[in-house]
């Protein structure tokens, strides 16, 4: 998916501010970068993964999102990014609807269908892209497909008929691929 590259900024990013406040560590920033890049795959191309990540930090810094004490910061920020992600889609849908009110009934219907079809197409693409990452690893691919069905760890192991060692080793490979995808430079 082609993504917009944001303009260079010389100001401290919200993520940098959170790091200064010691709310997160450097390694957490990298974990979150990988999560943001993973989540941004299915977004409209005008939304960059960096926007998703920095907006999540901004919301935590300005107090609009408060972390429950028992939730780790990385998991919390991951959840914030997920909610921003669905907001982006709702916003896109609303924009389409506003446009529709200015148009004829038929065009309205087509626009609504067009936007939701775009989301569905992007979801299919996202799923295919993730599966492609594990194309050379049949066990990892099996796990990925089981996870997409919403199965829990134990259920995945049973469904894929994997030993605990085999499952853990596949999980390590999955993490490695995801980290590589999340950290690599776009041109690499």
């Amino acid at each position: 998916m082609t993504q917009r590259k944001p303009a260079p900024s010389f100001e401290a990013t919200p993520a940098e501010q959170a790091l200064t406040l010691r709310w997160v560590g450097e390694m957490d920033l990298l974990r979150l970068k990988c999560i943001a890049r993973l989540q941004a795959r299915g977004l409209p191309p005008e939304v960059h993964w960096s926007d998703l990540l920095q907006e999540a930090f901004r919301r935590v810094l300005d107090g609009s999102r408060r972390r429950p004490p028992d939730v780790p910061m990385v998991a919390f920020l991951g959840g914030v990014m997920r909610s921003i992600r669905s907001e982006v889609w709702k916003q896109t849908q609303r924009t389409s609807m506003r446009l529709q009110s200015l148009q004829a009934q038929q065009a309205e219907h087509e626009l609504l269908l067009g936007r939701s079809a775009e989301r569905t197409v992007l979801a299919h693409e996202q799923l295919a892209e993730i599966e492609r990452l594990f194309a050379s690893d049949p066990i990892a691919l099996q796990i990925i497909r089981a996870l997409a069905e919403g199965l829990a760890a134990q259920e995945v192991r049973t469904a894929c008929d994997l030993s605990k060692t085999c499952y853990e080793s596949a999980r390590r490979r999955i993490r490695r691929v995801l980290l590589r995808e999340g950290l690599r430079m776009p041109a690499q």
């Binding site: 990298l30 970068k33 998991a75 996870l147 997409a148 069905e149 993490r175 590589r180 430079m185």
Partner: protein, 103 residues
């Protein structure tokens, strides 16, 4: 596109994506520091540098890479050093060359 097909098929694909993203997100959140460092090394990124390319888009925006970041990849750094040494050697040789007196 058929509205009925979209109504029945679309929520399923969205649910699958959501399930998968949540599971992979939790995998990434549980990645150890050693795993992250190993991948960064593999990509030629030096995490100890503040301006490391790994932090692009996170600690700073894009387009702010310093030569040190670009040359974090050891192979490229070695090649650059070699090229610099060669250039210096050529310069030194030129300085030593005695030009023939003009007649």
């Amino acid at each position: 596109m058929n509205t009925q097909t979209q109504k029945s098929g679309a929520p399923k694909i969205h649910a699958r994506v959501e399930h998968l993203l949540a599971a992979l997100e939790s995998e990434l959140a549980s990645a150890s520091d050693a795993e992250i460092e190993a991948v960064a090394r593999e990509l030629g990124m030096e995490l100890s540098m503040k301006g490391s390319a790994a932090f692009a888009g996170v600690r700073y925006g894009f387009g702010l890479f310093q030569p040190d970041d670009i040359y974090a990849d050891k192979r490229r750094a070695a090649l650059a050093t070699k090229a610099k040494e060669t250039r210096e050697f050529i310069r030194a040789m030129r300085r030593r060359t005695v030009k023939p007196p003009r007649s």
